[in-house]
Symmetry: C2
Subunit: 337 residues, 2 copies
């Protein structure tokens, strides 16, 4: 049994930089036609020069794979119209991080007063640059995303023409927000469709399943599955694949992030098949994103074949999701594409 | 500034066996006059011979420290009156584990029907042997203890003369149960008085703070602190100190357990002082347990002195709670005792 996915897109990806970028970039570029590349490098990407030079490094790392890195800027509240107008030629979106909320987010936003953000968000709205948001407060870990929802509602109402993507949503409350505001969209990761806090901390503690936002409850996972599996038009796949060296994961203070890029298509295929929803995978993996972002991705066909895929224990020094386990679908680029 | 604790008791302790026992036993026997020693060895302690021989090994490991190990049996629903009558000479309590719920609990209880437990619990009630319970269901990790409360209520009502200790309680619901049933008691750990899930998984993932039951919410910690700090007569200190070798904690599947024995008295002193409740520490650390268990511990005075205690990074190959951090109280045995 085979299915063909047209131009799969990963609308939330961490490619890192330097050796790590070199080591893992092809885990994405082999299977996807493009990806939104997150800007939270150790020195966040905040200038056009940095966007250009980071994109060059990404393109070098992927070699001759057919893959379009959609670049982003790290949100700063002092970006103004003229800068953004020029930047728009080089980026597809701007990512807002609350300060200190996740890996390399220390330079993020610390005031969520609309007045402190107004000029930048108005310019983005006018220029039709989507705002991507890591939506968590610094409250109790299981409540952070829910607590953030008042901010989502506030910016959705204040800037009705601004496209706002709630990144890697994890709870049922965020799913409900999708239907409440026309200009709210969402990405959903593979892992939040599959795991709950029980998988992270219910048996042994599993550092390789530790991510931010943390996986939540069964009813949250169910709400996420429902919109993803049904191809809800405002929902896109974004892996949030985030590699860390093994020794940063299996240590006394384990960094947040799950490396899912090389297993994402196979595992999604399994999930959609199990729920008898394979016909909606194309929407979730590409079509919805194309409409939401108004992009024309590289034409690339990825074949998913029902053939055992034994996931490697490591890619370089990074342990992937499902390391050493067997998935029932394998993926490769169609030779006809 | 100094205070003296009379015969501090740790009413829930894992001393392990073999090399680990030899390596960590004195971390308890140096600071405590006695401890309830848990029976969940790799081969659980289920016979009188095993109790006797385990106690010998414990006594050998503590050398000439003045310390009484209060032995326990691993609950089995086929223990009968005559066996228990004889066992009573050698044990202070019996510990019930739901099957598979934590470290070495595979041989635990799988049916919670009263009829399946009745004969054993009736005999224990008649013989006045306390029942110690690891109270968790196999539900969602944050709800397990709360879900277990219906079982606590059922056995408390069915066996009104049986002393039931809810071990290492972690949520406010369990605190409420204490006041609802005369025959329900509780131990509380150091770590559940200090941490929440935020400390385990809210920033970096901290395997050395991973334990079962998992640390819960701020309101839960507050409820636990309230009864402990006020010396609630049904509440005893039980460290649940549970050493694992460092490589079992910092790994791709980290075992549950926090090694707090060597820091427990210092850290408790800090907590009680900060809350201006030092006068209640003696109740929490010894007096309540003496009354609840009806025991006469070895006379031993431990001095807590306000003097910096730099916690070692490791004891043998075990990383303690507060490794490398400074506590403001040091403890040692009084030379006059």
């Amino acid at each position: 049994m085979k299915i063909v996915l047209k131009s799969p897109l990963d609308m939330h990806l961490h490619l890192r930089d330097g050796d790590m970028l070199e080591s893992i970039a092809r885990c994405s570029s082999r299977y996807f036609a493009g990806a939104i590349v997150m800007p939270n490098l150790v020195m966040p990407v905040t200038s056009i020069d940095e966007v250009i030079s980071y994109k060059k490094r990404v393109l070098k790392a992927i070699g001759d794979d057919k893959f379009e890195p959609y670049m982003t800027l790290f949100f700063k509240s002092d970006y103004r119209y003229n800068f953004l107008k020029e930047a728009k030629e080089y980026i597809k979106a701007i990512k807002l991080y609350p300060s200190g909320i996740t890996t390399n987010s220390e330079g993020g936003v610390s005031s969520f007063e609309i007045d402190d953000l107004r000029e930048t968000l108005e310019a983005m709205s006018e220029l039709n640059i989507p705002l991507l948001v890591h939506g968590e407060t610094n409250g109790f870990v299981m409540d952070r995303e829910k607590e953030f929802s008042s901010f989502y509602e506030k910016i959705a109402l204040t800037f009705p023409k601004l496209k706002i993507v709630m990144e890697h949503i994890t709870d049922k409350n965020s799913v409900e927000l999708l239907n409440r505001h026309d200009n709210l969209y969402a990405t959903i990761t593979l892992h939040h469709l599959l795991i709950t806090l029980d998988d992270v901390a219910g048996g042994l503690l599993r550092p390789h399943l530790f991510c931010k936002p943390i996986a939540k409850r069964y009813e949250d996972r169910e709400a996420l599955q429902k919109v993803a599996l049904n191809g809800h038009p405002k929902v896109m796949f974004g892996s949030d694949s985030a590699p860390h060296p093994r020794d940063k994961k299996e240590s006394c203070g384990c960094a947040a992030g799950i490396f899912s890029a090389p297993v994402a298509l196979s595992a999604l295929c399994e999930l959609f098949e199990k729920n008898d929803k394979l016909e909606n995978l194309q929407k979730f993996i590409s079509d919805n994103a194309i409409k939401i972002y108004g992009i024309k991705p590289i034409k690339k066909e990825i074949v998913l074949e029902k053939k055992e895929f034994l996931v490697p224990q490591k890619y370089g020094n990074v342990v992937p999701m499902f390391a050493g386990e067997k998935l029932s679908w394998s993926s490769y680029e169609s030779t006809s594409s």
